[in-house]
């Protein structure tokens, strides 16, 4: 029964306004890549999905968006939690997914395995939501691109070793490509496909 209560609890108490506030944080995050912001509303999804990642799921997923979950998430109560609260269908095929969720510490597949959109419809691509250790305190990366005045420095901690290679490959196929939402605790950092990253 513990599993059941996990599935039914943990959504927004005030769905209309909390979803709006989470969306605005995401919108501002994508409009100003590299800024770290905290969600004012959080979800309480079953472990191991993070609270901020759960809030993203509640805000953006519904029956129109198929969701891919990392193996550990797929084995947990998370698929039922997402299904109950958002109605989103699960998919095991990465390039069918509109959203993909990966919990902290899990292996991150290379980004080109997900939907990248087409040259005609580059918007039909996966948005990856990855929880990492922390959004600061890691190795410094210089970010440039749309939404960034001159340049900004980000230092996420706990990114996969090959992250910069994955990201450079993703940047190279613009306008196709995935978009990335990094979460840690209740904070979020968005990286749209336009952002260029390099080591400091």
């Amino acid at each position: 029964m513990a599993a059941q209560s996990q599935i039914y609890a943990g959504a927004f108490a005030d769905p209309v306004f909390q979803a709006q506030s989470v969306f605005r944080t995401l919108m501002d995050g994508f409009a100003r890549p590299g800024t770290v912001a905290s969600f004012s509303a959080l979800a309480a999804p079953p472990s191991p999905l993070g609270r901020a990642s759960g809030a993203v799921a509640l805000t953006l997923c519904d029956h129109d968006t198929s969701v891919w979950l990392s193996p550990a998430l797929a084995k947990s109560a998370v698929p039922q939690w997402i299904a109950f609260h958002t109605g989103a269908p699960m998919t095991e095929t990465k390039d069918d997914a509109r959203f993909a969720f990966i919990e902290k510490g899990a292996a991150v597949p290379s980004f080109d395995q997900f939907a990248l959109g087409t040259q005609e419809y580059p918007d039909r691509s996966t948005t990856l939501v990855i929880e990492i250790e922390a959004l600061s305190g890691g190795r410094s990366l210089i970010a440039k691109g749309a939404g960034i005045k001159d340049e900004t420095v980000i230092a996420p901690e706990g990114l996969p070793d090959l992250f910069l290679d994955f990201w450079a490959a993703n940047r190279a196929i613009f306008p196709r490509g995935i978009d990335l939402v990094l979460t840690a605790g209740d904070a979020v950092l968005c990286l749209p496909r336009t952002t260029k990253l390099e080591r400091e």
């Binding site: 209309v16 919108m27 501002d28 100003r32 918007d123 749209p192």
Partner: protein, 297 residues
Amino acid sequence: MNDLATYNFAYLDEQTKRMIRRAILKAIAIPGYQVPFASREMPMPYGWGTGGVQVTASILGPGDVLKVIDQGADDTTNAVSIRAFFQKVANVAVTTRTKEATIIQTRHRIPEETLKEGQTLVYQVPIPEPLRFLEPRETETRKMHALEEYGLMHVKLYEDIARNGHIATTYAYPVKVEGRYVMDPSPTPKFDNPKMHMSEALQLFGAGREKRIYAVPPYTEVVSLDFEDHPFEIQKFDKPCALCGAENVYLDEVVLDDKGGRMFVCSDTDHCEDRRAHGHAGHMLARPTPESQEAAE
């Protein structure tokens, strides 16, 4: 009041908002690219800004301050009715002052006051596809965007020069965003194009009938198309605003009588009022001067 009888906050249902919000995020990630979305019927006809209204409704929160302008004016029919709509369905604070607004919905102007970080400008767009009048088939224009094949647009601008000696396009002047997509800035006068370049504010575009959403993030390169020997130029006005004396602003022509009398006044009413409140006066501003008192007698 019975809650069952009221609309959801900001009129749209939550599923519609989620769908539009997803489109907005993709639009921001691909600056200048037109994201298709499932535009809804709104309680106003197409052409009244249904695209802008749906974008505003999807981003609006209870803490926002909304300003709505129509050709720069806060007090014309379209602006007044959309502002009243959001007051009714979202009970949101409204203002006419550009500085105080967090969301500005606009029909065909960008405010004169430089927009700041944290502000969002929502454009109402009638025809989002800049290539539509050159190529009517959606399948073809989509392919042209995919291949970054914008030669046709340059031919059009060239033909302008061949016929008129200069580029005759004065509004909806095509721009290239972040060096990739050619975008229609909606029918704003080309006077406003330079304001889009590296703006601190987020710019969102909604086309309701055509079912497209696109965006220009802050600090994004927006270049008006031109030629080396015919560089892009904005409109110039001979006289300052007749009411506030402002120069280097976009002016509307107002016909005064049937004898050819006319005046040119700021299209941005808030800017004009603000200047007059600060003591600026144009040559036709009504003032109780000795002369006008004599004339009245």
